[in-house]
């Protein structure tokens, strides 16, 4: 062969983006096609014996998941979260949050809570760290299995957001424990999570979700069903009830954490909608999983209602409405597109 010839050509971005006129964004540059185990034309997922245990795991739960799209790289996070923007955003949020925590602490707010609110926080809010940690694990699994680096990165940041939430719950647990040493806050959480009747449906749902190994099912169970349902109970409804009971801080925290939840709704709802738009057959498994997990989510919400101090019917109806609103954005557009096409 001859000495390689070099032909000049002005290339401004990665060839992976094709012939683009517009420069890709920083988000796209650092997120596009970064996971080699999702590359085109691979002989097996991993560069090892095609029938190694983990190759078979990925073959079963990702490559053969009922949820399939030809070009997963076609989906991008609507918020375009990349590492730099993530830490900037959450550091800024943390500054505000620290300000909140600081001023309520200065004011001695916790000591002033009515007994009923202290009891509610100890029964519902502080034990929720176990539930959220379970969510955190499932989000990590979704990232690990992701069909594209766009999905894995989004799940990675969502996984970190859940650690953020556990951190806030942990922090508040200690503050409340200091203000109310005899309340059982700070000591009774695990027992409540493991044995309070009110928590058992939620715990059952989380444990079952931890063994839902199919990528599409894990994604649906957590991000389209359980998290949107229980966030409505634990962030929005608890915030409102707390505010009415004279605890503004928990209402603020519900709003702060609600931002992460809404960001998750945007990318997860968007990803599900993308799946349906790319391939109408995806609607069937998505509905199947939604139908399978919704009763567990509703049971979990119903179980928690007494701790919230609201009629169970109301708690479930509101939580279900939050979930269904997310679903409407997924399927209605597809229906409309199908009708138009």
């Amino acid at each position: 062969m001859s000495t390689p010839a070099r032909k000049p050509r002005k290339q401004r971005t990665f060839s992976a983006f094709g012939d683009v006129r517009k420069m890709p964004s920083e988000y796209e540059i650092v997120t596009h096609a970064q996971n080699w185990n999702t590359r085109d034309g691979r002989m097996s997922t991993f560069e090892q014996n095609p029938s190694s245990p983990i190759n078979l795991w990925f073959l079963t739960y990702r490559e053969n998941s009922p949820l399939q799209v030809d070009d997963w790289d076609g989906w991008h996070d609507p918020d375009k979260v990349a590492y730099r923007s993530y830490v900037n955003m959450q550091a800024e949020e943390q500054t505000k949050l620290d300000g909140l925590l600081d001023s309520y602490n200065e004011a001695g707010a916790d000591a002033e809570f009515p007994a009923e609110q202290v009891a509610r926080l100890g029964a519902l809010f502080t034990p929720s760290r176990y539930l959220v940690h379970g969510f955190q694990q499932v989000q990590a699994y979704i990232g690990y299995l992701g069909h594209s680096s766009y999905i894995t990165s989004a799940a990675g940041y969502a996984n970190a957001d859940l650690l953020r939430r556990v951190t806030i719950v942990g922090y508040r647990t200690r503050e409340l424990q200091m203000a109310h040493p005899d309340s059982g806050i700070g000591t009774e959480e695990r027992k409540r999570w493991e044995s309070d009747a009110a928590w058992q449906p939620a715990r059952e749902a989380v444990e079952r979700m931890l063994v839902a190994y199919d990528f599409g099912e894990a994604f649906t169970a957590l991000n389209l069903v359980l998290a949107p349902t229980l966030d409505d109970v634990l962030l929005r409804q608890l915030g409102q009830v707390s505010k009415a009971a004279g605890d503004e801080l928990e209402w603020h925290l519900g709003n702060v954490l609600g931002k992460d939840a809404k960001r998750r709704d945007r990318w997860c709802g968007g990803l599900a909608r993308f799946c349906v738009q790319q391939r109408a057959e995806n609607e069937k498994p998505l509905h199947k999983w939604i139908d399978r997990w919704s009763p567990l989510a509703d049971a979990a919400a119903e179980g928690l209602a007494p701790l919230l101090g609201k009629p169970a019917g109301e708690v479930v109806a509101e939580a279900r409405a939050a979930r269904e609103k997310l679903h409407a954005g997924i399927f209605s557009t597809a229906d409309a597109a199908a009708a138009a096409g």
Binding site: W36, Q48, Y83, Q94, Q136, A160, L163, E189, E207, V211
Partner: protein, 508 residues
């Protein structure tokens, strides 16, 4: 400020395990992923990281780091520093961008796996920080490499390398899929945070950063040294896991670390070795690859594992001998098969450079000198053609690098030895005893086709160099060639040439 100190509340964040009752513990933490093995499940309750970190500390610190790293980049992008860098050094950076960027992403997957399947809540949380860190490393490396695409299309391989079937990424995917993505979390914590991150990454990130500064590439030094500051945090998972495994199953701990050590040593001898001893301009070399290895790996890492009652790996003598040969052979291999790589390898064997090599490696001349002389004489006789490849080398079935390790015979001569193994009606080839031994023990997992196996099986068409380059997605604008033939051959112009018209492929 009336904010609580981290120590006052962090146990609530770390303490998030519970007793599963609706499903089996083994279903949530399956052996394939969680890998508790002989360690009793309760033993993992004692898992504890040495230095703690909270989410708020994390985002505050990382925001600052990002700001300063990108500020340096922004300042330097207005300068013409890059244009004045030595071609050899640029090659070292191209190799780094292409070779490392997506390994960082694969490390994200390793961390996510530990964040899901780790056997203690504190471990899973630390892995959550770890996956963020690795997303950062991937983003920084990718973004910094991307900026250079406009200057040189070889930087396109920052993103492209691992999407291809080039032999270099096949080898590295094999290693990193093995230790990062597909290992169970216990093995993974020993192989990645411990063996790889507290050991080998120092070589690429600390030592290479020194060479970068010497070479005037402040931007690159800035990037990799900032990346390295994250390792201390998530690499703690290694020692915390080792403490428990070493107590309950030291034999496994030893084997798992040894294996990762060996695989990393092979990979770094292909990447860091040539970058340090050949591509970095002579006047900018701080230490030789061997010296860096002795300081960072042989001394420091071995001390770490000995602290936990582990021994030097079983292949120690072969590894130590390899410090004088592996990377020199691989350098020659990379240079010879240069159309298959995305950088311009610099041969780096001018008289001065050879003096340095002889000083650092007393056997270098005897082992490699005559082979380079043949190449030099052909180049000086305007016969570069004869120095280009027409065939493939044997590739090792374990490390997937060329089988090119010479050892000294009783008569004093140095010969490349292939270590074959017959198994299940097939002959496998290995570059070393270490590779052969590891393959034999892990054969159910690691047994898969090398590039040569694929070629011989007819998967690569047409069956010639053009077909191969096409299979590797190598394009003419990127294909590597020597950075500057004259630089290292001019010292020898006019001397009597003895070995003209070397048969192609003889350098293996």
């Amino acid at each position: 400020m009336a904010l609580l100190k981290r120590e006052e509340w962090q146990d609530f964040v770390r303490d998030v395990d519970w007793t599963l009752t609706y499903v089996d513990d083994e279903a949530v933490y399956p052996e394939w992923f969680s890998g508790t093995g002989k360690v009793p499940r309760e033993a993992w309750l004692a898992w504890e990281e040495d230095y703690k970190v909270s989410y708020q500390e994390y985002v505050y610190t990382q925001k600052e780091k990002e700001a300063s790293t990108y500020a340096v980049k922004a300042a330097l992008s207005r300068s013409d520093t890059f244009d004045h860098l030595d071609e050899g050094w640029k090659s070292a950076t191209k190799m780094h961008f292409g070779g490392v960027a997506q390994v960082e992403y694969t490390a994200t997957l390793a961390e996510l796996k530990m964040a899901r399947f780790g056997l203690n809540g504190a471990w899973r949380n630390m892995a959550t920080f770890g996956q963020l860190d690795e997303l950062r490393h991937n983003a920084l490396t990718t973004y910094f490499g991307h900026e250079l695409v406009v200057k040189d299309p070889q930087y396109d391989w920052t993103q492209k390398t691992y999407t291809t079937n080039d032999w270099v990424p096949i080898s590295l995917r094999t290693l990193f899929d093995g230790i990062m993505t597909t290992s169970n979390v216990v093995d993974c914590a020993l192989q990645v945070p411990l063996a790889f991150e507290t050991g080998f990454t120092n070589l690429q990130f600390v030592a290479l950063s020194a060479d970068a500064l010497q070479s005037g590439d402040i931007n690159f030094a800035n990037m990799i040294s900032s990346i390295q500051t994250d390792e201390a945090r998530h690499s703690q998972q290694g020692v915390a896991t080792l403490q428990i495994l070493a107590e309950h199953d030291p034999t496994r701990a030893q084997w798992v670390i040894d294996k990762a050590f060996w695989g990393s040593a092979r990979a770094f001898s292909a990447l860091t070795g040539p970058a340090m001893d050949y591509y970095t301009p002579l006047e900018h070399r701080k230490q030789s690859y061997r010296e860096f290895m002795e300081e960072w790996i042989v001394d420091q890492f071995v001390r770490t594992i000995e602290d936990y009652g582990l021994k030097k790996p079983w292949f120690w003598d072969e590894f130590m001998r390899g410090l004088d040969t592996w990377h020199h052979s691989l350098h020659m291999g990379l240079w010879f098969w240069r159309p298959t790589i995305w950088w311009r390898p610099k041969a780096g064997v001018s008289k001065d450079e050879r003096d340095w090599l002889r000083e650092k490696y007393p056997n270098w001349e005897q082992t490699y000198g005559d082979k380079w002389d043949v190449i030099i004489d052909n180049v000086n006789a305007n016969n570069v053609e004869a120095t280009l490849p027409a065939t493939l080398p044997y590739l090792c079935s374990l490390c997937h690098l060329p089988c090119c390790n010479p050892t000294q015979s009783r008569d004093g001569s140095w010969r490349v030895r292939n270590k074959p193994l017959s198994y299940d009606g097939k002959t496998y080839h290995f570059c070393s005893n270490g590779c052969r031994q590891i393959w034999w023990k892990d054969r159910d997992n690691v047994n898969h086709e090398t590039l040569v196996d694929r070629f011989l099986a007819g998967q690569i068409q047409p069956m010639d160099v053009g077909g191969l380059l096409n299979y590797m997605s190598m394009t003419p604008d990127v294909m590597g060639d020597d950075a500057d033939y004259e630089a290292w051959t001019k010292d020898y112009v006019g001397r009597p040439a003895t070995g003209l018209a070397v048969p192609a492929g003889a350098q293996a």
